[in-house]
Amino acid sequence: MKGNFKKPVHLMLVLVLAFSMLLAACTGNNNKQDPANNAGNEGTNATDAPKEPQEFRFTLASEPPSLDPALMTDAQSSIVAAGLYEGLTRLNTKGEPENALAESITASEDGKTYTIKLRQDAKWSNGDPVTANDFEFAWKRALNPETASEYAYMLFYLANGEKYNSGKGSADEVGVKASDEYTLEVTLNSPAPYFTSLLSHYTYLPVHQATVEAAADWAAEASTIVSNGPFKLTEWAHADKLVLEKNADYYNADAINFDKVTISLVEDENTVYQLYETDKIDWIGAQAGSVPSDLVQQLVSEKKAEITAVASVYYYLFNNNKEPFNNVKVRKAFSMALDRQSLIDNVAQANQQPAFGLVPPSITGPEGKMFREVYPDTGYFSENVEEAKKLLAEGLAELGLSSFPADVTLLYNTSEGHKALAEAAVDMWRKNLGVEVKLANQEWGTFLETRKAGGFDIARSGWGADINHPINFTYDLIHSKSGNNDGKYNNPAVDKLLDDSLVAATPEESQQKMAEAEKIAVSEDMGVLPTYYYTTVTMLKPGFEGVVSDYAGHLDWVHGSKK
């Protein structure tokens, strides 16, 4: 009898193997060999080649919705676009703009017009030169209502940009003009000291006019994309992977070291980590895969993973119009009863920095310093359970409530990480304040709609930077007219400071007013509950250099190299 035992098991394995081989044989032509396996071999074979071809491999959770600069909206697209296109400026690793295609950028005295000289040796991947005309065309196209660009508002800084996009003005009125082949004249609505940073944003990237006009779907396949960056897209197997190869015609090709970049699309973060462990990818983190949170502490202590600050803030919204959080003392009590460091150490676990304000530490401030260096958030408020209890009792009394309402709910969008944080926060409120807060999670789309409509008591929120400037975290979040102020925090004094900051005479004064507004909104009103400033955990295989997470926490791989 013993002998028979193995039979079915063996048979099963043999059959599975046999059939998978049969299948693979049938589909041989589709059978794309994993380039990862070949890279090493090619190198050893090509003995006369001066150096081994350098390949860099990473994953994205989902494929870029678009590689058309006018239609890009997300981190995935921007990570790919950074290699594919070249704009007028590029942010360096500190988040400061450096000239790229622009040779010189000259601002007028009033800061409203810019004259940009382009370098003359840049080419499109089809051999055409990159001219000022390509920029004018690209920007006006993104603003054209018929293009339906979601990020068109990034171009609203241009004079008459918003008017054109709303269908009220014409393209000719828009404040951008190619005065000759290599000179771009830009007129702004109002001075924007961070305009050179803005120029590095993907909405400001050029497109090749003839290609775009020939086919609306030009950017949907590798074969039809015409780009001008350090890399060319050679393969785009949708939902599977993207392959980029070094562009030999790139004007600064010497600064580029990778010969090939393979981006696999892998959603499951456990799988991403195992791909890294089995040497199939070289990088995890910064929106290109994420390190499973249970592993972070161990990996960091073993020096296998690094933690980098990110210009994003994690916070909870209070519904300022609904009992009990229409009372400032209740809001303060909830904020002061949280032990942020404990949340970070035990739940978020990536060495995040506790947030007592909204503007993250990696955002640049006035006079070349960081914003938080000049305006630290440490004095905004402090955690204090006893004080919190007192405030809660007073607040409830002011509201005429004998006890804390029974059905107060914390709403978060479905995700393991948000769930764990929410569970821990609710537990702290239970232990420290003796209140019971329920949890509710909604899938992303529904969550956004519910939050927008104010259907919550406390709601999870996170905010990242589009540009390296504190306006992202002040005007956008706490101005009563901002479309992103879902908690409906409303303080006329804060509004006035923020409005004034936009027309302030100097950048320093402008940032000063933003800092004041932030302080009132958090310290006095606790309109929202700041939790922590994000970090990103990254892992890079030994031997690679120059691959980093940028200030906004997006992978920047373009200038990386392999020893």
Binding site: M1, K7, L23, A148, Q274, T278, G445, T446, T450
Partner: protein
């Protein structure tokens, strides 16, 4: 027979139409839209987007337009993945799902049949018990457990297999096991019970008395007569397996169609939701239809009477 087939086809078209209508309405009724984003959009931008995708028109107009395009064979373009046509997205992702699905179906039928036959032949003996316990264990361990465990231990720890992808023949092994373990068990148990019945039938006893060997009897006579329920089950299984498994595809990073089921809804990608619904319904109806036909072909009673009694 022709009448039967025609009738089935007409019914399929009608139910497809009803299904399309229902899904279209339900999908538009759910909160959220394909065009929303976390950062509040500028009203002008939002209006442009809605106009672009025709979402500013009344629902009934959108519906009419969709049907008109569909009649021309145009399922539209994705609202999330810019300028990717839905039929192309489905076609591209169906390839891997189909290949994996076929591998899983063949594996389940073969292994399931072998286990089932062994169990029936050695009914109430050790092999029977062993085969059935194996089968039930296969049924009891869900793919959400089996797949990550195999991936971690056989892939990452032992490095016997790749942890993800579907590039080489060996890459099929783990996802196939994860997909097939349930169906193997089901088929084995199904076949065992019908087979035991058939083996006790008179014509088998006749065959035995004529001195035919055990294996000949099983393969030539009993198996053919026991396959009916298996064929019916295959009709359901096929549709379920080749349209992709969300979990297995997600864990093994297989660019299959399974993930569209979840992401299309999460993204509110209306044209893709419709496309997936239609695709799935057609596959399901077709495979059931084929199962019906196969049933007729396999069922000895439906064929010329003499053949079986031979």
């Amino acid at each position: 027979m022709l009448r039967f087939i025609l009738g089935k086809l007409v019914f399929m078209v009608v139910s497809l139409f009803l299904l399309i209508t229902a899904t279209f309405m339900l999908m538009n009724a759910i909160p959220g839209s394909p065009l929303q984003s976390e950062k509040a959009p500028n009203p002008a931008v939002q209006k442009n987007l809605e106009a672009y995708y025709g979402l500013d028109k009344p629902l009934i107009v959108q519906y009419g337009k969709y049907l008109a395009n569909l009649a021309k064979g145009d399922m539209g373009i994705s609202m999330k993945k810019k300028f990717q046509s839905v039929d192309k997205m489905i076609k591209q992702s169906f390839g891997p799902s189909l290949r994996l699905g076929i591998s899983a179906i063949i594996t389940s039928v073969l292994v399931g049949c072998i286990l089932g036959i062994l169990a029936a032949m050695y009914h109430r003996k050790f092999i029977d018990n062993l085969a059935m316990i194996l089968a039930v264990i296969g049924l009891a361990i869900p793919s959400i457990v089996l797949a990550p465990i195999m991936q971690y231990f056989l892939g990452t720890k032992l490095r016997w297999f790749e942890v993800a992808g579907l590039n080489g023949p060996m890459d099929y092994v783990l996802p196939t096991i994860a997909l097939a373990s349930g169906p193997i068990a089901f088929i084995a148990r199904l076949l065992r019970s019908t087979m035991i019945e058939v083996l006790n039938a008179d014509f088998i006893k006749t065959a035995k008395s004529k001195g035919l060997s055990g294996y000949v009897i099983v393969v030539k006579h009993a198996l053919r007569n026991s396959m009916l329920p298996v064929v019916t089950y295959l009709g359901y299984l096929t549709a379920g397996i080749i349209t992709g498994s969300v979990v297995v595809e997600k864990i093994f990073a297989i660019p299959g169609i399974g993930k569209h089921f979840v992401t299309s809804v999460i993204d509110r990608d209306y044209p893709l939701i419709m496309g997936i619904t239609i695709f799935y319904a057609v596959i399901l109806m077709l495979s059931r239809f084929l199962a019906d036909v196969a049933y007729v072909l396999v069922d000895p009673r439906m064929r010329a009477g003499g053949k079986v009694a031979k």
